[in-house]
Symmetry: C2
Subunit: 685 residues, 2 copies
């Protein structure tokens, strides 16, 4: 695919070849950019080896082969779901860690699929040819879906490989990815979680950092360790400051193609709203948690989740509030608009920017009501969710399948029932706190005199109304839920449950808002498709597409940064970790396991632990190998620092950094703390 | 003063004789109400004894005489400022507690004044007669001030008593209060703070409660214990559930006469704004505090303060969001408006309600900008406050004294310089966190594209701008502040300090907003004076006036309540305290002193500790005695529960409660834990 260029100014405005930006496709790597900036040649052989050494985790993460016998390195936090499932009441593998001293002790994961990318084929023409250019958007979309499914099925049958067609550049290109699939995956080694997630939430998204966020699995085939001739040699010396390095992994999703109007909406409305909700939720839940140890136990998960969200969102909002960042976006959009305006066939694309702005501007009230009533922010409880699901299940299941809301169609029945009949505990005192908070938030945002708000409060204060509803409902009882679900619309209608009453009270308005919201989203999606088409016609694949959980390569260098006038060095050490442990009074989340305490004196305090680099990554890159120019593993990606969280909508290398575990830290801990000689012996150092 | 009544409906609508409401004047006690509801006669003798047994603490609290030798009971939290001042580096009296085993060991407070009310004289006519009815509001106000000062001076000289004219009913009446004054006050006994403030912030404003929030002082005259023939006998049996009881104390301030429009403004704008600021401040500061033990130490005071504010404000907002509460206010205001409309001379009062509404409605944008720029919410740091004070001091001190802003006039010079040259530490890393948070809040509330906001950010993100300003300023240096202050306007103008630059950037707008805000406040104040005049003409003193830190009596009963469907008993015990201690893992703020741990097994676990009652109290009542019909002390007020916090603008007894320490709890702890026999021996039990 060749770029079709109109003007010099356009190229530079649209170009993304600044700094170390880009999550590049393996069949369109940043050869020119890396050559120009660093003088290094990315050869096809170098690239193929890296590709075949890279592993995709089906649960949303990345990894790499560390030996010819299927040994795989990834993050502890990528593996932790499996580690938890492999634990027993007698043996908590998260707390204790795990080490298979023999091959026989390696623990088979119940449901983990790994993929290794074997080949990529451009099927854009085949997909586009199958779509009638005169078809309506709906018909075109359907024809495209059918064609893609056919290509995948044919490839799957012919190659025996997992075959996925990936939509790139918002529909500018379609590539067929063929993966080798491993379904027998076993746990080989995991450090204890205190070391893996040292610093917990306080250190999350921060740097300096001291996490041994790694673990090892092994791919098996026919009950034998898989033969994996493509694997990464390790270089425990790591990379020097300024040295060119690469990551190879599976970034999940980015939104770099959203328009200025959408960014402004996030900055002025969506993010402030969500943060306001998070701040009040966090303060309220922590206050309740502080009242009682049992409260603390009940609220712990919710608080951890909300804190992670607060950090990520606050960092992103700070990025959007950077006028320089927004000015760059405005400039590049202006250039695009000018370019599109020069050809009649792109007039629709040129008009799409203002169409999106108009739609966002006119949807503000809709969005604020939608979040409350259909999004459920006004109610904030498990019990309301259950009540609404029962009400809607009753209403929807008497309808023809295809006329129902998607979540009530037959294909979703199993997961709906799994949710609805889950025996996850419902803590009524916590529900009252959450619902009081949510109802107060509703009053604050929509006004206490809004007619629907008044009906919801039913003449009571938020606290009294929440108490009445939560204490009055019986929906914490799974048997009652089953009865009402099975009894259908009539049973639900006859139930005198106050929470179902509330769900019924708001349901017409909630569904109306949902429909309106979906219509607005469709307008925006179509506008984006126009832009993407014109943009791709102009640029082709001279740049990288938004992330799609497909394999990407990024480049960068090891590099510290300045923060609050302080220079943050690029690398941390075991000595620094010990200092942080001591400095924080040795208490959670800065504590060590007893095994660690007993052996930590033998650690080399100068051995490197974590480091930062300028590579362009995002969620899904967790577990990605970091390699040097010789293709040697010199790091293991596990996080982004807070300033780097804006990578969702733009790359930044001022303070934004990719955070990785250093291989020397892995080896030092394997040797001195965990004495996992069998793992070390297998590595190619 | 006789009420002038127009119609029956008016009396009932304006009457406040519902439930146990009222902070009544001692020269106009609720004789009729108590007789009608409880059949008890408040006699002049009974009342005088209670009055003369009641003590006002100059630092804002209440107390009572507990012996004929000047022994005084009050709250630990009323005395804690003194207890802290009496501590030495070697002897922390808050942590250790204090017990003077002999008279000689009693510790003299450096600066505590106590007052005991001796007489009240109505001087309304004298004050009103001195004011020219044709005078402008400003002149009238001046004439009144001069007259009041004259009355006070004359009484002081004649009686030798401290003489204060108290403005009641928003100017409906003026009473001259004469106090016996004690300036030699000594600390006799204080429990350790772990027992006094058991449960800390998590239990603040909550019930059940387990606080030994008491301590003892002694009034001295001529270096001898004061002779105080009026003192309260104690009844360790306390009061039974439902028994009529009274409090006698000094409620500081209530806002029960604000109009519906003002309440709606609080509900819809002022409180949600302040809570939003509190929620984000609390979450942000706690997150920073969790990062580091030193951070935690630096942020502790700020976090405790903000948590106290959150609890109080959230409870008040919940009260305002109770539609029934607002409906009652609307109804009573409607009745007042109708009554006022019937007489020509009250037309101005009748019109005042809509005048206030119009002013509040049209001031919304003004208020939101005023809070940010003049209130300083946009900057949120000590350093900005210092920069602004230096800038304004330079500008103002070249002006004629009376033309200056009040805080820069000569009479305020000492306290201004005390503030400005305080060696209170400035933690720059904490300042960056607070300023980043404040600048983000500014962007969220006023919009990132507001012209002044853009100038403030100066092309940077909130985090980068905050870092630049805080790290760039030198104002943490007290010597530099002194130099700039002494150098005056020119020195400040020449200083290249970025924080002073910021203060200068916003100062014109801030001062303009302040002027506009003061004009709006004046309109509202004058409208209130019209209402108060008409209301007093109608009602006279048939009801109680808003609180004014003068002595008041309230009545009520010991009474539990329902919360979240749970019955909360009226009384707690030592057994309950032990259970809470154990249940919370025995850690702060639920921990005991080692002395307590060693001796607690001897405590009677059934002995009562705290109890709730329906008495109408507010801030300033802390330390008030609770007495039974025989005038015996059966409690010591120390808190309001959360639902009672709406008492600022309305009495409620649904869940709102006054929280007191039980005398049996005081005696039990004095005996068994502190072995303070000398104190017990002096009490009249």
């Amino acid at each position: 695919m060749r770029p079709f260029c109109i003007a010099g100014i356009l190229l530079s405005a649209l170009s993304t070849a600044l700094a170390d930006e880009g999550m590049w496709l393996f069949n369109n790597p940043p050869v020119r950019q890396v050559k120009e900036k660093y003088g290094f040649d990315i050869t096809p052989e170098w690239l193929e080896h890296l590709q075949k050494s890279s592993v995709r985790f089906g649960n949303g993460g990345s990894g790499s082969f560390a030996s010819a016998n299927g040994l795989i390195l990834t993050n502890h936090h990528v593996g932790s779901g499996m580690i938890e499932k492999l634990s027993t009441p007698e043996r908590d593998l998260l707390e204790e860690g795990f080490y298979a001293k023999t091959a026989g002790e390696e623990l088979k994961c119940p449901d983990l699929e790994l993929n290794v990318l074997i080949s990529i084929e451009d099927v854009t023409e085949r997909v586009n040819a199958a779509v009638d250019p005169q078809a309506s958007p709906e018909d075109a979309s359907k024809q495209r879906r059918i064609t893609i499914a056919g290509i995948e099925k044919e490839s799957d049958e012919k190659s025996g490989l997992r075959s996925d067609v990936v939509t790139l550049y918002q529909g500018g290109a379609y590539h067929l990815y063929r993966y080798h699939r491993y379904t027998d995956v076993r746990l080989v080694f995991a450090p204890d979680v205190k070391a893996a997630a040292f610093g917990g939430d306080p250190d999350n998204f921060e740097f300096p950092r001291f996490c041994l966020d790694y673990c090892f699995f092994r791919a098996y085939e026919n009950d034998e360790p898989a033969k994996t001739p493509d694997f990464l040699k390790w270089n425990p010396a790591g990379a020097k400051e300024g040295e060119l390095i690469f990551t190879s992994g599976h970034p999940g999703r980015t939104n770099r193609s959203v328009t200025l109007a959408q960014l402004e909406n996030m900055r002025d409305d969506a993010f402030p709203y969500r943060l306001e909700q998070i701040f009040r939720g966090e303060a309220t839940m922590r206050a309740w948690s502080d009242r009682d140890l049992e409260n603390a136990r009940r609220a712990k998960g919710s608080i951890t989740g909300i804190q992670n969200g607060r950090k990520a969102l606050a960092a992103r909002l700070n990025g959007l509030l950077d006028p320089a960042f927004m000015a760059r976006k405005a400039e590049s959009e202006k250039a695009m608009h000018e370019a599109f305006s020069q050809k009649d066939e792109w007039k629709k694309a040129a008009a799409a920017f203002s169409k999106i702005r108009k739609t966002k501007d006119s949807s503000k009230e809709l969005e604020s009501r939608l979040r409350m009533f259909e999004g459920g922010d006004a109610f904030g409880t498990q019990l309301f969710g259950i009540a609404r699901a029962l009400l809607r299940a009753g209403d929807q299941r008497v309808m023809e399948d295809k006329m129902r809301l998607p979540e009530f169609q037959e294909k979703e029945r199993v997961s709906l029932e799994l949710d609805l009949f889950s025996d996850e505990p419902v803590y009524k005192n916590f529900e009252v706190v959450k619902m009081t908070n949510a109802l107060t938030f509703l009053c604050v945002k929509l006004g206490a005199t809004d007619p629907l708000v008044k009906k919801i409060l039913a003449g009571k204060s938020p606290a009294d109304r929440a108490t009445e509803l939560v204490m009055g409902t019986g929906l914490e009882d799974v048997a009652l839920r089953k009865k009402l679900y099975e009894g259908g619309k009539d049973a639900v209608a006859q139930a005198q449950d106050p929470m179902i009453g509330l769900a019924r009270l708001v349901d017409d308005e909630a569904l109306r808002l949902r429909q309106e919201g979906e219509a607005a989203a469709e307008v925006i999606e179509q506008a984006h498709q126009s832009i993407a088409k014109a943009r791709f016609a102009l640029q082709g694949d001279s740049t990288y597409p938004d992330a799609t959980f497909s394999l990407r390569i990024s480049y960068g260098t090891v590099k510290g940064y300045e923060d609050e006038g302080v220079t943050i060095p690029a690398q941390t050490t075991f000595g620094g970790m010990q200092k942080r442990h001591d400095g924080q009074g040795k208490v959670a989340p800065f504590d060590f396991s007893s095994e660690w305490e007993a052996r930590s004196s033998s650690l080399d305090s100068d051995a490197p632990l974590n480091f930062v680099s300028t590579n362009d990554i995002t969620g899904g890159n967790s577990g990605s190998p970091v390699v040097n120019q010789r293709g040697e593993l010199i790091g293991l990606v596990f996080d982004t620092n807070a300033p780097g969280l804006v990578s969702d909508f733009a790359y930044t290398d001022v303070k934004g950094r990719c955070v990785s575990v250093h291989p020397a830290g892995i080896i030092e801990s394997l040797k001195k703390i965990y004495q996992a000689d069998r793992v070390i012996a297998e590595l190619s150092l």
